[in-house]
Amino acid sequence: MLSQVVARFEIPYVQVLDENGNVVNPDLVPGLSDDDLRELMKRMVFTRIWDQRAIRLSRQGRLGFYAPVSGQEASMIGSEFATKKEDFLLPGYRDIPQLYFHGYPLHQLFLYSRGHQLGGKVPEGVHCMVPQIIIGAQIVQAAGVGLAFKLRGEKRVAVTYTGDGGTSQGDFYEGMNFAGAMNLPVVFFVQNNQYAISVPRELQTRAQTLAQKAIAAGIPGVQVDGMDVLAVYHVMHEAVERARNGEGPTMIEAVTFRYGPHTMSGDDPTRYRTKDVQEEWEKKDPLIRFRKFLEEKGLWSEAEEQADIEEAKEIVNNALKEADAAEKMTIPGLIDTMFEELTPTLKRQRAEFAGEEAN
């Protein structure tokens, strides 16, 4: 018998632009300059071009591990755009565009893809971790980065990314729970792209939304149209500024879709989703709707976008050349990165693999 309700919760859903680029929520249109709006489009175009090029390079064997991103541009670009350069990103393996726009050199991201250690050597002044392979492992680490900022009194935010599958991991809850319990400046950004490789969202959890998983950790959870770059920017901006001001962590679920396969390592999406589903999502495309919005405001032209496409191709080509020029890794060089000072055991092994006489 119900005697009283001790807690009530609700999960907001945020959309600013509908599928046709019409503003449906005028109060939530972010106060971005015309240049910023153009920049958001330019970055999404870059991401789409990069993705197409990366898929081709991957098929040619010129790229290593690659997880396609088309369809998720609004979620990726909109969320990163709301961070500051000194905020610290802890990405998953698909989150290459956010890293690039946070300052990570593109040629190093190529090298990361190829398993070259230079690819993981985050340059000084770029604030991020390298992409995480183990689903959810970065989420508990984000709490640690957030605690470091809090202890030092720095007004910085840790931002971590995962997908719908990642929300089933224990680390997902542990990370949110630590951040909540310690009131840390962390934003947990979930890109719900509907499939964890092949397993659909409804098999991950019986929860009605992924955003409501935040409630169990005592932190706000919000769902956003992940195909709407303005809505993503809006909720992310609120979340990072809340965190920066000491008001604690937030979890965001961006509802989105990946058009391509899970990775370029043999995944065939036709095995787990129909053409109808794909077409349904393509109607919501983030670039199309934002293009219409900009055109309406006189901030878009075919010629400008074409110029952006050419520039993107040029950037990708140059990065590829730079990656190709990197010195090959060696086994002794690899051994050198195991410890600051090699143990006697490793010194002997280093000499052996370098073909030197062991002492």
Partner: protein, 326 residues
């Protein structure tokens, strides 16, 4: 100089390092107000405040993940896993994350984290508290594993571990926490990681041990000397990853025989690696195969038969007799 138990030496080392280096943070389950379930962090929160010494939510993966995030931001975290049997919950955050931070980022980020954890049999804990799991980390590249056997060593090794630029697992045998006192200087001293200690000299057999087994080996050696007039040389390894093979080889050159006494199950652990390295470096000095005095390949049987399961001085004596007869 003061007489200290091992647990007091550990508290004292943490105190010194918290005072010396403001990047050091001590945290875990019950380590704050309660001072740890074994009182290893007794009084430290009161002295250094809840920003430096604090309780965390009960989640081992979260604790080590927190340490990892703090470490890449320049802190020197000293997290505690309340009992090492709980380490499976944090295995990815240690072996998959901490130990790979330097590799993964080409040295841009490092993980100077010291994970302290009680372990070890003979104190009648529940299941998953006493297991010797160090072997799992002997096979993990990028991490060091330290196991002290005395209060003096515990302090010097813990200070070295916290100051080490790479991750270290520091395992504290529960049976040794309060079993005896020893003179421990109050000033700052370190014992280098990866350097073994010859704790008893002898010329007939080399006995390699670590943790509580050092004391079992010493007891057996004394009895062997008394009963048979034979002298065992006992090496306290102190660090099981890396293994100080040079000290072992130097001893075997003298004794030409060796046994390893290990509290962990027999196969594929530290003892197996020690013997493999002896094979590579000292086989021509041996007059008999290297034997192992270890429990069988079962899980640790908490409670009823744990004292029978653990290697005893009698078992070590029998193994010494056997290696002499070969």
């Amino acid at each position: 100089m003061a007489q200290m138990t091992m647990i007091q030496a550990i508290t004292h080392a943490l105190d010194l390092e918290l005072a010396r280096d403001e990047r050091v943070l001590v945290f875990g389950e019950d380590v704050g107000k309660n001072g740890g379930v074994f009182r290893a962090t007794e009084g430290l929160q009161q002295k250094y405040g809840p920003n430096r010494v604090f309780d965390t939510p009960l989640a081992e993966s979260g604790i080590i993940g927190l340490a990892n995030g703090l470490a890449i931001q320049g802190f020197r975290p000293v997290p505690e896993i309340q009992f090492f049997g709980f380490v499976f919950e944090a295995f990815d955050q240690i072996a998959g994350q901490l130990a790979r931070t330097r590799y993964r980022t080409g040295g841009r980020y490092t993980a100077p984290v010291t994970i302290r954890s009680p372990f070890g049999g003979g104190v009648h804990t529940p299941e998953m508290h006493a297991d010797s799991l160090e072997g799992l980390f002997v096979q993990t590249p990028g991490i060091k594993v330290v196991i002290p056997s005395t209060p003096y060593d515990a302090k010097g090794l813990l200070l070295s571990a916290i100051r080490d630029p790479d991750p270290v697992i520091f395992l504290e045998h529960m049976k040794l926490y309060r079993s005896f006192r020893q003179e421990v200087p109050e000033d700052d001293y370190t014992i280098p990681l990866g350097v073994a200690n010859v704790v008893r000299e002898g010329k007939h057999v080399t006995v390699i041990a670590y943790g509580a087994m050092v004391h079992v080996a010493l007891k057996a050696a004394e009895q062997w000397s008394k009963e048979k007039g034979l002298e065992a040389e006992v090496i306290d390894l102190r660090t099981v990853n890396p293994i100080d093979i040079d000290t072992i080889v130097a001893s075997i050159k003298k004794t030409n025989r060796a046994i390893v006494v290990q509290e962990a199950q027999r196969s594929a652990g530290a003892a197996a690696e020690i013997i493999a390295q002896i094979n590579e470096n000292a086989i021509y000095y041996l007059e008999a195969p290297v034997l192992r005095a270890t429990p069988p390949d079962t899980v640790y049987p908490f409670g009823m038969i744990e004292d029978e399961w653990l290697p005893t001085p009698e078992y070590v004596l029998a193994t010494l007799d056997k290696v002499m007869s070969l």
